[in-house]
Assembly symmetry: C2
Homo-oligomer: 256 residues x 2
């Protein structure tokens, strides 16, 4: 049983949960709760380490056994250590450390998403979750977007990280990767109504931050598309706007 | 200048920001930031009181003048008092107290939303914002749903409160109010694909909590509708699921 916050692994996990630099330097991130860890195993992701405390549920204890059978190093930790390692107020009592993912971008790109300057972790997590669920093949993140391995992003994305390539690139690099696709820029202002766009060909959708909209270097890559709004409302939540357009793409393609 | 946290109005505002009971007992709520206060004035909502501190922006100072011209009681407060009255970490330096709204439910109901057991304030705020923007006529909240005047709900809803009737009712009362409408229950599991439903007649959509789904008393009011998901994802964020269906309704009706 680990009960000291000074334990090197405990200190590392606390750093992974609180600092982007620590995540990037080590190429690691943390999953909390049995649901996300189960998703990771279902997607054949290797766990580097599992921490479990007395507050773990019965489902979590099944997972611990499964992890042990796979040869994962499992440590029991005190409630205090778990609290220190947790990014939530009420820790679920189980967490795992994983390597950051590097899923390849498919060669035949026909449905890509760009999240530009998303600064709210919950919003980026929600967009990733929707993108994976709508069948997007990749999400590109621009500089200024919150880290995809921020614990709130990971929690909101509900396993999208294991199923969807997520890559951080410059606007210029994104332009190169999206060559040949119809690129649409989601705008709170004027634009072609999203349901009148023909989405059946290879397409990319750029979603900007609510505060500033998409950056100029991305805007010039494509044409503006808008979601017409009723009742004098000015805009939608950025993750919602992206989701509405992504599911319209899937509806037109009749794939789901 | 008010600089004491013991001032009765300061104590009241702190209570309104932190406790549902205080909001309900007084029938009041708080708006923070010049954008939301501007929305309220644009929708001809009366402000009972305006607090402003040194951190207010130039736009906020314009609003202060506008409020004074309307006869609103304006108080300058110290930064410490503003911090104490604010529900945010970095207060925008302007806040207003308003009466809770009681917009009437239209008689010819043809597009209604039910939010059942939404426990995350940000999710309810996002759903209210989308409902107003998609042209819904009313949102009913069940018991167990977070208070619509919780500061995080108000912030996420971005002015929906002034444009959309929001009423808390029991499942039984909701059944009565929705008589004559086609009622659809959004499910993470099996159901008719949402884009194959004919939404052109009077319709209501029930969105349940992500954790538990819609309660049985609501489920038996209607038929299950589902958003087909790709890539092995199990579900969408509840506010996103509601938004995708609401904008499909608008798309089919061709109103936007």
């Amino acid at each position: 049983m680990i009960s000291s916050r000074a334990n090197p692994r405990v200190k590392l996990i606390n750093g992974l949960q609180t600092r982007r630099k620590v995540r990037q330097k080590n190429g690691l991130f943390v999953l909390e709760g049995d649901r996300l860890i189960r998703e990771a195993l279902a997607c054949r992701q290797a766990l580097n380490l599992l921490f479990v405390s007395s507050s773990a549920s019965d489902e979590a204890m099944d997972l611990v056994q499964q992890a042990r059978d796979l040869g994962v190093s499992v440590e029991e930790v005190s409630d205090d250590v778990m609290q220190y390692c947790s990014a939530t107020e009420t820790p679920p009592g189980i967490l795992a450390v994983l390597n950051q993912l590097d899923l390849p971008v498919p060669a035949d790109l026909h449905m890509a998403v760009v999240a530009d300057h998303f600064s709210t972790p919950g919003n980026l997590g929600t967009l990733l979750r929707s993108a994976a669920a709508a069948g997007a093949q990749v999400v590109f993140l621009t500089e200024g977007t919150v880290d995809a391995y921020n614990p709130k992003v990971v929690r909101g994305a509900m396993g999208a990280h294991f199923r969807l390539p997520i890559h951080s690139l410059s606007a210029h690099q994104i332009g190169t990767r999206l060559a040949g696709l119809s690129i649409w820029i989601a705008e709170a202002g004027p634009g072609i109504p999203y349901s009148q766009v023909n989405w059946t060909g290879p397409s990319a959708i750029v979603i900007g931050s609510e505060a500033y909209g998409p950056q100029p270097a991305l805007q010039k890559l494509g044409k503006p598309v808008a979601i017409p709004l009723a009742g004098g409302m000015e805009s939608l939540n950025a993750a919602v706007a992206g989701s509405v357009i992504l599911f319209e793409i899937q509806r037109q393609r009749g794939l789901l």
